[in-house]
């Protein structure tokens, strides 16, 4: 299994990970880390920089929110889930499974 390790990040923040040709967004919401594809399913804009709160990220472009755990969107604008990646918290940081 391909994976990438990144240091833990502060609560309510995100960090972009480039790996295997993919842009992945690592997010910390309420002390739990999540990893999602860094691309909004509404208009394919990057999600990086969007507000992370209560287990959701808001797309900075039009505001579509995605559930960080399931990838499900909220609201009128998007129908498709954003891809999510499994994460494991270790002493070395956050391991994101790419496959």
């Amino acid at each position: 299994m391909r994976e990438i390790t990144h240091p833990k990040i502060p609560d309510s923040s995100s960090a972009v990970l480039e790996a295997g040709g993919r842009s992945i967004l690592l997010c910390n919401s309420g002390g739990t880390h999540y990893a999602i594809e860094n691309r909004c399913t509404h208009q394919e804009s990057p999600l990086a920089g969007g507000r992370v709160r209560n287990g959701f990220i808001s797309c900075p472009l039009h505001g579509v929110r995605f559930n960080l755990k399931t990838g499900e969107p909220i609201g009128d604008l998007a129908r498709l889930r954003v891809k999510t990646f499994a994460v494991i918290e270790t002493d070395d940081g956050i391991v994101v499974a790419l496959d």
């Binding site: 208009q43 709160r53 209560n54 959701f56 808001s58 900075p60 505001g63 609201g75 009128d76 604008l77």
Partner: protein
């Protein structure tokens, strides 16, 4: 029924709420000792007020665009760019915080071709409001700051096509909006509320729990289910004798009414007054069997004062705060103020709710109920973010919300009557609700205020 009393003078037997709470060891808030009841009539309330689509359309046309409504708490829009959508009928507002920390509210529609800028009920954060259709961009101050292909719009200027603002103001940490540019100031609309709540520090509370449930009943009947304590004996206590709470009902000009009922005082209907220990057992029993043995009331204390002390101590430990200054009445009692047309606030310590009711835009038989628990902010700790609302459909139980605790089952009991009431509205041979003159005066007040708007 007494023949000697004038209409509206009748009260439940025995002592009043005010007479009960002056026996507490701690001084109750002065506002609790006021009474403000008047007889508002005794005619039936037509069922068409609830079921008629024409009546609902009149409300959407003449009531909802004219009144102040609670859109969110200030902590929902704590940072610049945070926004919260408030929907009422087919109207929608985006409430936001600007770079200079001002709160502003806009009609939720692009000035180009009307596309809603944000989804119903949503919240989030953005640097600017960008229409998803053609990309017109508005600053947080509502100014049109980017017009794609502007060569084609010589007739469009910042002045003509910036977002239209709604009136917005705050009270007690709540953000209120009004779609009417000529509406009276919020503080005039609030009537006695700022004075009655001046010591309750609502600004320094935070949203701990938020549940939004779809209800199978018209918005007014939904509110009415929470406006009187007359239903307590049958709906919540299975008809148990002497379960009627001692309650005051008051109506204040023009938009406020309230009830307050005691928790843990003697029911004057009892043939023999219970001992303080028996009252304590009744209070303790409400908490469920997992609480263990009932504590013994120390000699010389009332069960109410002793129990209030325990509640303050337990909540103090839970929230790491000192609640000792709260009076017994504010700690225990069910203190429910209503601001017309759709907002309820409980300033009490153990019952810390706020309610908001909204009609379904398309079906007068349904409504939405936002239920918030507000807790005192810790003076030093970081305030938690407002939670994402738990959305419940008609058939869902409130007990799905962990935050409601044992009250979830109580709200289920309230809601269980609603679908039956909607069906009954349509088949009852007598074509209107009959109301008690005192215990159900708040319901009459609600309908009279609605009529004031519809007839204006």
């Amino acid at each position: 029924m007494s023949e000697k009393l004038k209409l509206g003078e009748a009260r439940a037997p025995g002592h009043t709420y005010q007479q009960a709470i002056v026996k507490d060891a701690s001084e109750p808030p002065a506002a609790f000792l006021e009474t403000s009841y008047e007889f508002l009539g005794d005619g039936d309330i037509p069922y068409t007020n609830y079921t008629s689509r024409d009546y609902a359309e009149s409300e959407f046309e003449k009531l909802w665009p004219k009144v102040w409504q609670m859109a969110c708490r200030e902590e929902h829009i704590a940072e610049p760019g945070d926004y919260q959508v408030y929907d009422i009928g087919h109207l929608s507002a985006v409430v936001t915080r600007t770079e200079t920390m001002q709160i502003k509210a806009y009609f939720n529609a692009c000035m180009h071709r009307g596309t809603a800028l944000k989804s119903p009920g949503d919240n989030g954060s953005c640097a600017s409001f960008r229409c998803p259709f053609h990309g017109w961009v508005y600053s947080l101050d509502g100014e049109l700051v980017d017009l794609p292909e502007s060569w084609d719009f010589p007739h469009v200027t910042g002045d003509s096509h910036s977002l239209r603002e709604l009136q917005v103001d705050t009270w007690g940490g709540f953000v209120f909006v009004n779609f009417d540019p000529d509406a009276e100031p919020l503080y005039d609309f609030l009537g006695v509320l700022p004075d009655h709540f001046k010591d309750f520090d609502l600004e320094n509370r935070y949203t701990e729990t938020h549940v939004c449930k779809r209800l199978p009943v018209n918005w007014k009947a939904a509110e009415e289910a929470f406006m009187e304590a007359y239903h307590v004996k049958e709906t919540h206590a299975g008809g148990r004798e002497f379960s009627e709470p001692v309650t005051t009902y008051d109506v204040f000009p023009e938009n406020v009414n309230r009830f307050i009922h005691t928790v843990g005082s003697v029911n004057p209907r009892m043939p023999e007054a219970p001992s303080e220990q028996q009252l304590m057992q009744m209070l303790w029993g409400r908490r469920g069997p997992e609480e263990g043995e009932c504590p013994v009331v120390p000699a010389g204390m009332t069960a109410r004062d002793y129990y209030a002390g325990l509640v303050k101590q337990q909540l103090g430990e839970t929230y790491d705060q000192d609640f000792s200054a709260y009076s017994t009445a504010q700690t225990l009692d069910s203190i429910e103020y209503f601001l017309f047309p759709n907002f309820f606030i409980f300033p009490g310590l153990s019952l810390p709710m706020a309610y908001r009711f909204r009609p379904d835009p398309d079906d007068p038989d349904y409504s939405y109920f936002d239920l918030f628990f507000l807790r005192p902010k810790h003076p030093e700790k970081e305030t938690p973010f407002p939670p994402e609302p738990l959305m419940l459909d008609v058939e869902d139980s409130y007990t799905l919300s962990e935050g409601l605790g044992r009250l979830g089952a109580v709200y289920d009991q309230d809601t269980d009557n609603m679908a039956a009431q909607t069906r009954g509205f349509k088949t009852c041979a007598k074509r209107g609700q009959t109301l008690g003159n005192y215990q159900e005066v708040r319901i009459r007040h609600l309908h009279q205020r609605v009529a004031d708007y519809l007839e204006s």
